[in-house]
């Protein structure tokens, strides 16, 4: 089983995000970065499959220098090697370009299964996984919560939560799936894992190595503006006797909140 996990390094979900002066990006200084949480499920599932069926887990990530650290984290969890797509011309890659670059890079590789997170928590685009499957021309299942490899290792059965129920799908390999929370409980990178990760290879591929140039990496989507979520306003405590307070609450729900 050769398994590839596509991973993105994202700002820590606990980080306080500030928007840059031009309103089109975020202030990166002082922000700490982590492996996209959904990608952690993907890494964990890949490792479990490998533990059962053998093979190799390769983690691929497109990102600036700092993304090395996220790749290392995955190697410390147990992945075998890393591939880092890194080139100044990749810096503005939008989800579409990212998917195309990944497809290009992966087309020369040997894989049975590709795992992605269902979305990256920074831009919430939910785009790269499906677009990558399209680019590679392989079947896909998104937002899966369970994955089972067939005895003959020729297909996988996956479960997806759908409105009001559950869907079970079977996909012939090679295929791509995107991981949802609940798929598994990701392991923590351990000290032995971190020490071993030091010796694992991270192959860096620039534009030339991926085989792209100029227009291939030109973003198709332009960010017009970013704005912060509105500040949460203070709550309201309604004083007085319960019977009076309830009346007031109903009035407020009707008139101010317009919830009733």
């Amino acid at each position: 089983m050769n398994i590839i996990v596509c991973m993105k390094q994202v700002p820590d979900t606990a980080a306080r995000i500030k928007i840059k002066g031009d309103g089109k990006g975020i202030e990166t200084s002082g922000v700490s970065y982590v492996v996209n949480p959904y990608d952690e499920y993907a890494v964990e599932e890949a490792l479990r499959l490998k533990e059962k069926a053998g093979g190799e887990v390769v983690v691929i990530s497109l990102g600036p220098d700092r993304a090395t650290e996220a790749i290392r984290t995955c190697l410390a969890m147990g992945a075998d090697r890393g591939v880092h797509l890194k080139d100044p011309s990749f810096e503005d890659a939008d989800p579409f370009v990212t998917a195309q670059l990944l497809a290009k890079a992966l087309s020369g590789m040997d894989y049975d299964l590709i795992l992605c997170g269902k979305q990256a928590v920074d831009d919430n685009a939910c785009f790269v996984g499906p677009a990558l499957a399209e680019g590679l021309g392989i079947p896909q299942a998104t937002v899966i919560t369970k994955l089972t490899l067939a005895e003959d290792a020729k297909s996988v059965t996956v479960e997806r939560e759908v409105e009001g129920g559950r869907e079970v799908l079977q996909l012939p390999l090679p295929a791509l799936v995107t991981a949802q929370k609940g798929l598994n409980e990701p392991r923590y990178a351990s000290l032995p894992g971190i020490m071993k990760a030091k010796k694992k290879e991270i192959k860096v591929m620039d534009a030339a190595a991926v085989g792209v140039s100029g227009d291939d990496v030109k973003q198709k989507i332009e960010t017009v503006s970013l704005s912060p979520a509105p500040e949460r306003t203070a709550g309201k405590i309604i004083p007085g006797e319960p019977s009076e307070a309830v009346k007031e609450l109903v009035r407020l729900l009707k008139e101010e909140a317009k919830a009733l």
Partner: protein
Amino acid sequence: MAEKDERSFCKALFEGKIDEELVFPYPHLTGEDAENLHLIIDSVGKFCRDKVHGEAIDKEKRIPEEVIGGLSELGLMGMIIPEAYSGFALTQRAYCRVIEELSCFNASVAVTVGGHQSIGFKGLLLFGTEEQKQKYLPRLATGEWMAAFCLTEPGAGSDAQGLKATAVRKGDHYLLNGSKQWVTNGGLADFFTVFAQTEVDVKGEKKKRVTAFMVTKEMAGITIGPEEKKMGIRGSSTTPVIFENVKVPVENLLGEEGNGFKVAMEVLNSGRLGLASGCVGAARTMIETSVAHAKEREQFGRPIAEFEMIQEKIARMVVNTYAMESATYMTAGLADRGDVDFSLESAISKVFSTDRVWEVINDALQIMGGNGYMEEYPHERFMRDARINMIFEGTNEILRLFIALAGLQGPGEKLKEVAQAIKDPLHNFGQLADYAVRKITSLAGDRISRADSLLEDEYRRVEEYARQLPDAAEKVIRRYRKKIVEKEFLLERIAEMVSDLYVMTCVISRVTSAIQEKGVDAAETEIHICKTFCNFAWRRIRRNNRMIDRNDDKILVDIAKSTLEKAAYPV
């Protein structure tokens, strides 16, 4: 461990020397070590957020097995063990950072992990033979075995030399008897570092001397007493451990016979750094939680964060924490060098951090108001958990005596009997007093050249008071000679003076590095912290120095005496 001619920053201060090379540049981890540490801290933090529930640990008075097991799986039980024995060979700095991270979440967990390796098996690591290490370290590294340190007895606390446990040689083994109390990890441990009196030949005479042994749970005759009911760190195990005719094979002697006190002191020297870093972790959590509350909580129509007395507390917490952190990690860096004596520096880091974290928690709790007093919030628990730090691994009083007396003996001493006495200045000071008088000579005064010029006011103060310390030291020794051991008021002042000098230097060094790395603008807050800390510190030093001559010591003693006489409130 051989007697090395080791440099010591603080001992040199007593001679008026500022050994800059030891403290500049600030010893931040770099390169691969820093990258690895980052990954480790990420992982430990994540694990703790998911699995370590401080409130439940406190209520149930135990750490769930899943947590201990998880920590072992992460590799946290073998952090400081060399790779050759299945450990991970972390530096002291990295090790301390992990203890700090654990302490952000829960002190019981940090004390359990720290008790295991900061003191539990540290003696084996420092003094064990190759065979002994091969035999025990791999199991201790994986957490299959936990370790405990058994020094204290009901009759021997601060005066550990007075311990009563005995080990009598009978052919190929020793017969160990004795009762140890308040053993951290007592209920979990399979491996005990135990200190007992043995008879040794000293120049043809038979004398009682403390010797260290490694005792394992499977040896017959060990009884683990019931868990103590404690004020804090309730999830950690603290029990009596009783040894009755335990046959300890001669191979399990740790270090040389009669050398046990030295083993204990060396273990505690580095163990204390773990405690100090734990205080930094607790302080960080206190800052985070109280600041969040200050921004949310409104009184008089405004968030309380807008009131100056709240801001004062916030600033004070930050300054205290930064100073604790700077001293602790400077000292851990000194430990990592491997070629310096950091015993005073680690004692200072422990005393300073454990005192200051108490202030930080007090400030945080006050910001919380009534909520801080409630169990729903972590503050009262952190306060209970932190109180032990001033007591164990050497009370802050005993450590202040140690800091002053070891410093007064003069640095880098090589004479054999002096070297011996330095191990234990509290018992051996007398014979050294004459020597020390000769040692402290008149001084020109050293300069600091590597600090950033923006901090000139601050480092000039260090220079100024570094000149006054040897004067003060010489004065008290000339005045009191051997009796200085009894002059604890003065010793305490001297200890405070050298502590403040050291911590100031650590802060200045760290902020200098910050300015160099990030530039003045990005380092602005740190520059402010440095100025604030140093301003308080040099005034304290000046005051302590003046109070060597002008003080109310005698009056205080009188008040204490009349109270002692009445054994009650005397008025």
